[in-house]
Amino acid sequence: MLHTVNKSPFERTALQSCLGHALDGASVLLFEDGVYGALKGTGVSGEVAEAMGRVKFYVLGPDLRARGLREDRLIDGIQVVGYDGFVDLVTSHDNVQAWL
């Protein structure tokens, strides 16, 4: 299953709910304001890093760059994808849960 999160983890609980419901082997794509959840050294990066052992994280590159965030700010192991990668993720998973 693919989970998508487009809300800031500092303002909403979408990311926390997502992580609470993502089973082992699931994929999580962070985009729009959700990309802030991919940053290291923040109040939520511990939670994300912990989930990385069982869930694969992706982040949308154009949304990172729009917000002035470079790849070296990301938690190690999070993969940056473009819009084509977003589409590939959607088509390669059986279903998608959008945590709005």
Binding site: S8, F10, Y36, G43, D63, A66, R67, G68
Partner: protein, 135 residues
């Protein structure tokens, strides 16, 4: 003429994901035509508005971050950034744009607009305002 009031724009939202940040900036620019004592506060996700090197070419939205550098021209010279909000997001002042203004009363010397304040200091500054505009 009415007396000068203290107006503070309180910015708490990240840019691009919602329209709040851009709306606030536009209201600040329009409101600058009225001679008031204006300040801006950036706290919570609002601190993300000021990150440098924003490049929106990949998301099809206007990059309005260069406009913050024009605030000095509009006599908006007090920009408070909350320290705790930066820290919770893994940011430091170095990650933000360097915003300045020219001080008319000091031979146009270039001065920093951004003032780093603690949550408690900001709470007190907010308490001193006549009007808070919330975004």
């Amino acid at each position: 003429m009415s007396e000068i009031k203290k107006f503070m724009y309180v910015n708490r939202k990240a840019p691009y994901g919602t329209i709040y940040a851009l709306e606030s900036l536009e209201v600040v620019l329009i409101g600058a035509a009225f001679d008031q004592d204006v300040s801006l506060a950036f706290l919570d996700d609002g601190v993300f508005q000021l990150t440098k090197d924003q490049d929106t070419s990949g998301i099809g939205m206007k990059n309005f971050s260069p406009t913050y550098a024009a605030l000095g021209d509009y006599d908006v010279t007090k920009i408070y950034v909350e320290k705790e909000s930066l820290e919770e997001r893994g940011l430091t002042l170095d990650d933000l744009q360097h915003l300045t203004y020219e001080d008319e009363d000091d031979d146009w010397a270039e001065k920093d607009s951004i003032r780093l304040v603690t949550r408690e200091e900001l709470a007190r500054i907010m308490d001193e305002q006549d009007v808070l505009l919330s975004f």
